[in-house]
């Protein structure tokens, strides 16, 4: 019981700690994802625009707050997956940092499909993702775009979105 109490206290301390510290602002990441969705057009959207967060990331909690919102006439649906087979009908796959090693598998599984892959980890646009985030020297959040990959997947993005990119290939 003592051990349980101690574990509980440690957990409570950890939660209170992580909640209040200066850490990655996933709210901003989620805002970027929603705006990327807003300024992109997909050939296959039915009623819902589905964003699936692959792997564990706090961005999922932040995106859930946006769930149900209207994005270009579609309802935003947010799901989370831990296995490639669970990716479902997502238009956007958000690849959590911890799952970055799965990028190749995801690319293979979604090859030729109009599915946009946004990576939390920097530089993965060079390895086939459509977007990857980058934190600049002054700590602002930006993204890099792989236009070639997006075109292959028949995903169009607005010029305004392109001009915001840190770099495009």
């Amino acid at each position: 019981m003592k051990c349980f109490k101690l574990s509980f206290m440690m957990l409570a301390l950890y939660c209170s700690v992580t909640a209040y510290s200066q850490t990655t602002n996933y709210q901003v990441y989620a805002l970027f994802v929603v705006n990327i969705a807003k300024y992109s057009s997909f050939p296959n959207v039915s009623s819902d625009l589905q964003v699936t967060v692959y792997g564990k990331s706090k961005v999922y909690d932040e995106l859930m707050k946006q769930s149900g919102k209207n994005v270009n006439g579609h309802s935003l649906k947010v799901t989370q997956a831990e296995d490639i087979t669970d990716l479902g009908q997502a238009q956007i796959i958000y690849l959590a940092d911890g799952k970055s090693a799965s990028l190749d598998d995801i690319l293979k599984a979604t090859e030729g499909k109009p599915i946009m892959i946004i990576c939390e980890r920097e530089g993965l646009h060079k390895k086939g993702a459509g977007f990857s985030f980058i934190v600049t020297e002054n700590s602002t959040l930006r993204f890099d775009i792989n236009n070639t990959e997006l075109e292959k997947r028949q995903i169009k993005i607005s010029k305004n979105l392109s001009t915001l990119a840190n770099s495009t290939i």
């Binding site: 850490t23 990655t24 602002n25 901003v28 934190v135 602002t140 979105l161 915001l164």
Partner: protein, 660 residues
């Protein structure tokens, strides 16, 4: 509705929608990837240049860092640099010779060439012995911030930074755009401890900036009674026979990418019998050439002209020792950004030191002068990776007398959310100075060299709270040690290399900064290495060196009582120390155990009294009158300087800012 009118409405609707979309997107441009900084984080996230030329924040820079702000100095009412350094983990103030005080660091005596002290980029280590006299010397009320590496800095700074670096930046050189005056009075029950004052003026423009400041003071070393170690003189009242009088004039000019700084510093101090004088002149010209987006070159020329450690009879003023030391240094630094994540720094240095005897003309082995030529090359690479930042660097220095020294360093640092870690390995060296070479035993001396391992782990529990713990291990080989024997005409002195010295220990820093109060609680522990060979530092059967406590705890707290009034108590606890306090029947100095002490200080500071910019402070240092003595850091024939008694401190400063 006319067609044209409808078209206008449709067009304006389109424009407004488009512009609102653009606004949506534009607003993303400046969003920070991290949550908002607290006051503590603003300090921690500042880039510090002292430990790497590729600026990283305090939590990621490759060094164990302490950053002290002008606000903290002002709130604490620090009387001089001694008060500031005593609150830094691992730092201590000890006695050298003739009541000159110097720095001890991490349990080892570090005054002679082991800690580099710079003010506005100018090194205060004198060129004859590489010492830095502290005490009532530095203008603490003119300081903008102090960046301290509590570890080696030789790979960047060369042979005077083996154990640590203190980088002082003054307000005039950094932030002041106006005129400021300041004054400090320290009063003991029966003596005036010090009266210091200064004035600064600076103007900052986009292409042209200038600053000038002057500081002058009078002080005493102690107000207590003193009996010398050998009891050869009667008891002396130190308030009547000692002095600690600083003077500093500092001026800087910046025209575009060209900058020039010149400084004159003078420090006069004394023990009951002997006066000691240090006079230093500095001139430093540098140009920053931005070749392209990736490459920056900084050529610089520095010239130092000093008359350090002049000493003689306090009563007659007759000099026993007086020598000039000059250095002409040329340096070229190159900073190259290979990519966003790979940065390189390279430097070429050539300098010539010259000593000139100003008395009999035969100081340098019968010659009037001694010249040393030095060439150095250093390089450092910073590789930023998501798992860690790697810093790899080295310095190679060659001297025409003592040969070459090569010191590499490697560091892995990273802040991952709330956690940060640092793994540091450095070699560091102390370059033999003019006098080390001049009076080398049998004419042979080698550079002293240290292997230093450090590890730091820090965790930020809340935005206002950080706990960091570090452990260190310092192993120094070929330790440069001073020795002397005899008296009068039979007196002889020398420097020699002793095999081994060093220390290891841990340091803990807990910082919390709320809106209305902040606190820094530190603990430091150090012990001497087991196989130390430097007898003059040794305390038999103890793992600590002469003069040093094994344990030190400091607490610096500040409360904003109102928006203008602050109350700042500070506490310093040091465990038992050993010092040479007396002699035995054979006239050999004998070690005694000094009791632990607790020093408590309190300071009230009022900002904006009557008019904006006028600040007044009053406080008491050593409230409990603990009077901790300042022990000599080795067996050098001096009893501890009796600690000052309770000192009442009054500070006043006034600043007017120029209109923009």
């Amino acid at each position: 509705m006319p067609k044209i009118f409808r078209s206008v409405i449709v067009l304006s609707l389109f424009i407004s929608t488009t512009s609102s979309f653009c606004q949506d997107l534009d607003s993303l441009l400046n969003l920070n990837a991290f949550t908002q900084e607290s006051e503590l984080q603003k300090i921690l996230n500042k880039n510090v240049a002292v430990s790497s030329k590729n600026g990283l924040t305090t939590r990621e820079t490759p060094g164990i860092i302490t950053l002290i702000t002008s606000e903290e100095i002002q709130n604490s009412g620090a009387r001089d640099l001694t008060d500031v350094l005593r609150l830094v983990p691992g730092f201590d103030v000890m006695q050298d010779l003739q009541f000159v005080m110097g720095i001890g660091l991490r349990g080892s005596w570090a005054n002679e060439g082991k800690v580099l002290v710079m003010m506005d980029g100018q090194p205060f280590n004198e060129l004859l012995y590489q010492t830095v006299a502290i005490g009532n010397r530095f203008p603490v009320d003119a300081i903008e911030r102090i960046e301290i590496i509590r570890g080696p800095g030789s790979a960047i700074y060369g042979g005077s930074a083996e154990y640590g670096v203190i980088n002082i930046i003054t307000k005039a050189a950094e932030s002041l755009d106006g005129v400021a005056v300041y004054g400090l009075g320290g009063f003991h029950a029966n003596a005036v401890g010090r009266t210091n004052g200064g004035v600064m003026a600076a103007r900052r423009g986009e292409n042209f900036s200038w600053d000038i400041s002057a500081f002058k003071g009078n002080g005493i070393v102690s107000d207590q009674q003193y009996h010398d170690l050998y009891q050869s003189n009667g008891e002396e009242d130190l308030s009547k026979v000692t002095r600690a009088d600083p003077m500093n004039i500092n001026a800087g000019l910046k025209l575009g990418n060209l900058s020039f700084r010149s400084m004159y510093d003078q420090f006069e101090t004394s023990d009951p019998v002997t006066f000691v004088s240090n006079k230093n002149f500095y001139a430093d010209l540098q140009y920053t050439l931005k070749v392209n987006d990736k490459l920056q070159l900084v050529p610089q020329v520095k010239y130092y002209n000093q008359i350090p450690w002049t000493f003689g009879s306090r009563e007659s003023g007759e000099k026993d020792f007086s020598a000039r030391a000059t250095r002409l240094l040329t340096q070229l630094d190159a900073m190259y950004d290979f990519s966003r994540k790979v940065h390189g720094t390279f430097g070429l240095v050539y300098f010539q030191d010259q000593g000139t005897d100003l008395l009999a003309g035969d100081l340098f082995n019968g010659n009037k002068t001694l010249k040393l030529n030095n060439f150095a090359f250093f390089a450092e690479g910073l590789f930023k990776h998501r798992l860690a930042n790697a810093t790899v660097g080295f310095r190679y220095e060659k001297n025409n007398r003592y040969g070459a020294a090569f010191v590499p360093r490697i560091a892995l640092t990273k802040k991952i959310q709330n956690l940060h870690f640092k793994l540091l390995y450095s070699q560091a060296f102390r370059a033999p100075s003019l006098q080390n070479i001049n009076i080398a035993l049998d004419g042979v001396i080698k550079p002293e060299k240290s292997n230093v391992f450090e590890i730091e782990v820090g965790y930020q529990f809340t935005p206002e709270m950080l706990l960091s713990v570090n452990a260190f291990s310092i192993n120094t080989r070929n330790v440069l040690v001073y020795g002397s024997e005899g008296e009068g005409d039979d007196f002889s002195e020398w420097y020699e290399n002793s095999a081994k010295s060093g220390s290891n220990g841990v340091e803990v820093v807990y910082s919390i900064r709320k809106k209305v109060w902040y606190a820094h609680l530190t603990y430091s522990y150090s012990q001497s290495i087991k196989d130390n060979t430097v007898a003059t530092y040794e305390v038999p059967d103890q793992r600590q060196y002469v003069g040093f406590p094994k344990n030190k705890i400091t607490l610096n707290t500040n409360f904003n009582l109102t928006s203008k009034l602050t109350f700042n108590p500070t506490f310093l606890y040091a465990s038992a120390r050993y010092a040479y306090t007396t002699i035995d029947v054979d006239d050999n100095p004998v070690l005694s155990k000094l009791d632990p002490y607790l020093m408590a200080n309190a300071f009230l500071n009022y900002r904006g009294l009557f008019v904006p910019g006028l600040n007044v402070g009053v406080g008491v240092y050593d409230v409990a009158n603990a009077k901790p003595g300042i022990a000599q850091a080795y067996n050098g024939g001096y009893a501890p300087i009796p600690g000052r008694s309770r000192e009442y401190v009054v500070k006043i400063n006034y600043q007017i800012n120029f209109k923009k």
